[in-house]
């Protein structure tokens, strides 16, 4: 019933009475708490989190490695990626030969000055964000070959390194520990840092 300007006070009373009646008839059961308002499907599929967390989770769970393997350390990387140590557990089993697909360089081996421009070029071709793990003594300082006339004393002369893994060669377990460190590092990135 509408309330018009010529309504009498009884009309208003009746109107209010109707409202009470409606409310009473629709309130036979107690009101549920808010989470019950959504349907079951919606409830299972919505997560609330931050942009950072989502991006980092995605990035750290599928670090694809570039095949820029130069020397002996490569074999320990191959051991890691095959059945026994099974790097697929971390979503890393995909080896990319194209830098455009890769997120990570694992510098498995000695770097010579002749090779350095190629590695740098591969690094520059990789899309951001990208990471570098210096694997093995050679990757860190030139290792046993540091005195040589043709060896670069460590990849950090040409690339920014995120994680250093010592060893000559590092065991696959050490490499795993290094990768775990890198995953932690990836986790802490912020969207605002770019």
């Amino acid at each position: 019933m509408e309330i018009r300007t010529d309504s009498t006070s009884l009309d208003i009373d009746r109107h209010e009475g109707n409202l009470i009646k409606e409310l009473r008839s629709s309130s036979t059961k107690p009101v549920t708490e808010p989470s019950g308002w959504l349907s079951e499907d919606l409830k299972r599929n919505i997560f609330l989190t931050t942009v950072d967390n989502v991006l980092n989770w995605g990035r750290k769970s599928s670090l694809w490695t570039e095949t820029a393997f130069t020397a002996c350390c490569t074999f320990e990387f191959i051991s890691l990626s095959s059945s026994r140590f099974d790097i697929a557990r971390f979503g890393m089993e995909v080896l990319r030969s194209s830098p455009r697909h890769a997120d990570l360089i694992i510098t498995a081996g000695t770097l010579t000055w002749k090779m350095a421009p190629q590695i740098k070029r591969v690094y520059e071709q990789m899309a951001e964000p990208k990471w570098v793990i210096a694997m093995g003594a050679c990757g860190i300082t030139g290792g046993i070959f540091a005195d040589s006339y043709s060896v670069v004393p460590g990849y950090n002369r040409i690339l920014p390194i995120d994680v250093y893994i010592p060893g000559c060669p590092p065991r696959p377990e050490a490499l795993l520990a290094g990768i775990e460190l890198l995953r932690k590092k990836v986790e802490k990135r912020s969207f605002l840092q770019g």
């Binding site: 002996c72 051991s79 081996g109 010579t112 070959f145 005195d147 060669p169």
Partner: protein, 367 residues
């Protein structure tokens, strides 16, 4: 009328999934066909021969590990036998047996990886490789048991080996030797008569016997071309003259033969290992040599049949505690001499297979 095509320069490597390390080829291709090729070396040239002149004889052993890093025991062996020959050092009987065991284990590892990656290059992406890798890991465990390392062992010394075998080693090796023949049969069932393997590797990349000799090829590459030349028989070092084994050879010299020779060598290595395990005597394993010992003046060339071919060390001593000059005859490098002849005229996809069948290790190519 033939379609007119323009030759283009195609660059393969040094970062390329099927160049087995940092090796590079500049190919001139006409359509799909390679008309000329220039291998480019040196991306892993670490100056090992120069470093040898700066280190004492003993200090150089770990550097030899890093030549053919798939089979570092063989490099150790070649170097220590060269210096032992130079200085006239005796090796205890047990150590000789241990050396043979290590050398053959490394040959198996290297051939497993060589065959596995040959099939990778053929397109069976990593499936056979993983089967072979399972066995490789078992052997790696054995080598780790004796040396404490998984890849670069630094195990041999002038006058013997650094430690005796641990007690568990021989039983574990025996178990492996019992299982391995069945494993090889499994690979053979999968691959030997496989239609695709036959189509892609038979009569592909033929290296004629004359060419093989002329280009100084050695090891499985030389033998696949039908030349029966194995230094273990021709010039027995260590105690290889005591073992009974055959030299498998090919007939055609194509990729398939090279693959077959490697598989047969796996079986021969198992034969040698069985005899060595049965015959190994008790006793000491090292005739100690002073840390900074000085071999007499002179020069020596000593060679072994490593997994890749003839691995030779030419050591020149001036009587001091460092080698005056040390030259390494690297089988991987010399097996590539004929590469240009072998690849010209083949399609790019075949070139990858031919290259894979040579089985090089860049650490040894470039040194």
């Amino acid at each position: 009328m033939a379609i007119k095509t323009e030759p283009i320069l195609l660059n393969l490597g040094p970062i390329h999934p099927s160049t087995h390390g940092v090796f590079r080829m500049r190919a001139l291709v006409d359509g799909e066909v390679i008309t000329d090729i220039e291998p480019v070396f040196g991306y892993l040239h670490r100056g090992i021969e120069k470093l040898a002149e700066q280190k004492s004889y003993r200090q150089f052993i770990p550097l030899t590990d890093r030549l053919d890093y798939v089979a570092s025991m063989n490099n150790n062996l070649a170097y220590v036998t060269a210096v032992e020959k130079l200085a006239g050092i005796e090796v205890p009987e047990r150590a000789e047996y241990i050396r043979v065991i290590m050398s053959e284990i490394q040959r198996i590892i290297s051939h497993l990886l060589g065959i596995g990656s040959f099939f990778n290059d053929m397109g069976t992406f990593f499936t056979p490789f993983f089967y072979m890798f399972i066995q490789k890991e078992k052997l790696t465990d054995l080598l780790e048991m004796v040396s404490g390392q998984r890849l670069l062992f630094n195990y041999m010394r002038f006058g013997g080996v650094s430690h005796d075998l641990p007690d568990e080693f021989l039983p574990a090796l025996n178990t492996f030797l019992k299982e391995m023949p069945a494993e090889i049969d499994k690979y053979e069932r999968l691959l030997k008569e496989n239609e695709i393997v036959l189509a892609r590797s038979k009569k592909v990349g033929i290296l004629s016997p004359d060419m093989a000799i002329n280009s100084s090829a050695s090891g499985p590459v030389l033998r696949a071309s039908g030349i029966e030349w194995d230094i273990r028989k021709a010039d027995p070092y260590s105690i290889y003259d005591r073992f009974d084994f055959d030299i498998p050879t090919g007939t055609v010299g194509d990729c398939y033969d090279r693959y077959r020779v490697r598989v047969e060598e796996l079986r021969q290595s198992i034969r040698i290992l069985e005899q060595a395990v049965a015959g190994i005597p008790k006793g000491k394993v090292l005739n100690p040599v002073p840390l900074r010992f000085r071999p007499p003046e002179g020069e020596v060339y000593s060679h072994i049949e490593s997994n890749k071919g003839e691995l030779g060390f030419h050591v020149i001593s001036d009587g001091s505690d460092k080698p005056y000059r040390l030259h390494i005859r690297a089988p991987s490098l010399l097996n590539l001499t004929a590469l240009r002849k072998m690849l010209t005229g083949w399609k790019i996809a075949d070139a990858i297979i031919i290259f894979g069948s040579i089985d090089i290790c860049v650490g040894e190519v470039d040194r």
